[in-house]
């Protein structure tokens, strides 16, 4: 999808900085974003009287999606970007908005599909299998896609995303192809416990990959295929193969967008059962930090975020991925380790430098 965004009542410096940053982060966004003088998505500086007036008016009229830009979210704005503009915060905010927009759009499409055509599902591509004989392909049944329940933008619900479709496919042991408009294509073979797709650079996912991984179920086109067809396809296209666990992990990290998985209470005490197998599960240094803490401590996610100094939405994405990998234990008692060694600033400094050194040579 292509989204347009404008800015209003920003200082000259912030305005220039925002435009530049928007260009710089394109590769890390799930969708294409461009700056326009007028758009339905607007970044407004609510620390200025005119900016706050704009935000209030737009919120009342609901004609625009306004991102409140300020040091503190004093207005309790649903969409908020803290000052000063930082790369990760902006990426997360724009990806979350894109997910919201596509979720709303997906919900409308889903509703229309189930009302108007109960016996078919949206299939935007006629034949995904190209030169593979048609008799090996079969459109999926509508019952494969959950359609009636409204899609939540507050919680992450796997059953309404690509993740749920893949989990269902694995459970039913069906070989399938998944794609979405302008998105990547992946082939899942539950039998082999592998997925086949173009090369994944775990540190830099392409927009096509992000778009598919973050898709809501209604946007995804699924096609059944045989194992033979899959092998032909993988060979013909020179596809790479990955463990299914790797894909489930990646898809969850991309799709949850800082939303806690539905059914998990934010104040429940949680800990990690075991170290995630980072040999097959792509990880960032921040994930190792969270894992090390959550293995030793059973506590709320808010406490984990405070203690590890990892922002909450990143923590939630990691938590959801661990939950999908069945690595989370919920407990009734809080248990925060008190056996910690006193902080040594020299050691902290050394560790930080080692991490920096290792990261800089990746």
């Amino acid at each position: 999808m292509h989204y347009k965004i404008s800015a209003t009542h920003l200082s000259k410096n912030d305005n220039v900085f925002f435009k530049s940053m928007l260009q710089l982060i394109q590769i890390q966004l799930n969708d294409t974003w461009s700056y326009e003088e007028t758009a339905d998505i607007v970044l407004a500086d609510i620390e200025t009287p005119l900016g706050v007036a704009f935000w209030e008016e737009s919120t009342q009229q609901q004609d625009k999606l306004v991102i409140a830009y300020a040091r503190q979210n004093t207005c309790n704005a649903e969409w908020f970007l803290p000052k000063p503009i930082r790369v990760q915060a902006l990426i997360k905010q724009l990806n979350a908005i894109a997910t919201f927009k596509s979720t709303v759009q997906g919900a409308v499409q889903t509703s229309q599909t189930s009302e108007n055509s109960p016996s078919s599902i949206s299939t935007t591509k006629a034949n995904l299998l190209g030169n593979i004989p048609n008799n090996t392909a079969q459109q999926v049944k509508p019952s494969d896609i959950p359609t009636n329940k409204p899609v939540s933008i507050e919680y992450f619900e796997p059953e309404h995303s690509l993740l749920g479709l893949i989990q269902s496919t694995i459970k039913k042991c069906e070989t399938k192809c998944f794609t979405c408009e302008q998105g990547e294509t992946i082939y899942i073979s539950p039998q082999q416990k592998r997925c086949f797709t173009s090369k994944i650079n775990f540190n830099h996912l392409t927009q096509k990959q992000r778009r598919l991984y973050a898709s809501v179920a209604a946007q995804v086109t699924m096609t059944n295929l045989s194992e033979d067809a899959l092998h032909q396809m993988a060979k013909a296209q020179g596809l790479e193969n990955y463990a299914v666990e790797t894909l489930l992990w990646l898809v969850t990290l991309c799709a949850s967008q800082g939303r806690l998985m539905a059914g998990v209470a934010e104040n429940s005490y949680v800990r990690l059962k075991q170290w995630p197998n980072f040999a097959v599960l792509p990880c960032q240094p921040v994930h190792l930090r969270i894992a090390a803490f959550m293995l030793k401590n059973a506590t709320t996610l808010t406490t984990v975020s405070e203690k590890t100094r990892v922002d909450f939405s990143t923590l939630v994405d990691f938590f959801n991925a661990c939950k999908v990998a069945d690595l989370i234990v919920e407990t009734t008692d809080q248990n925060v380790s008190t056996e910690a060694k006193p902080k040594s600033s020299a050691e902290q400094y050394l560790f930080k430098n080692i991490l920096k050194r290792l990261s800089s040579h990746e």
Partner: protein, 176 residues
Amino acid sequence: MDKIIFTGPMGAGKTTAIASISEIPPIATEVRCSDEEGQARKETTTVAMDYGYFTLDDSVRVHLYGTPGQERFNYMWTILTQGGIGLVLLLDNARPTPVEDMAFYLDAFREFIETTGVVIGVTRMDVNNQFSLDDYRDKLFELGHIYPLFEVDARQAEDVKILIHALLAILQANME
């Protein structure tokens, strides 16, 4: 002296792991294997230690020491661990009893691990998959430990970096 210790049985990939992240070709004290197992597995083995290093921004060197794999050189283990930051335990999944190897090394380095930390990397799972990571986890659980455990390829710098990242993460968590 800031140093990270690599240990594990013969052939687990300690020398290779050090080579993959060291700035210099590792200084090794390798000799031809004299025992039957060694001759069957590899031509040479480390008898004293392997050594490499990488340099930080402030010119501080982090030294990488590999212990000799064979138990008969275990007098070197205590010497090498003195003042170490933490332990990287590499295990060869193609050996006859790698899970028992893990228990042995965790016990042999118990004191050092208790005062620092350990991370475990299992190598050669592609060569022999007789034991899965779950088998190692079960053993760790039986021993009352939850240590970071990964399948790694010692030849891949990225895999070795993950081990060190994880080691530092648990050391930092211990200091929270």
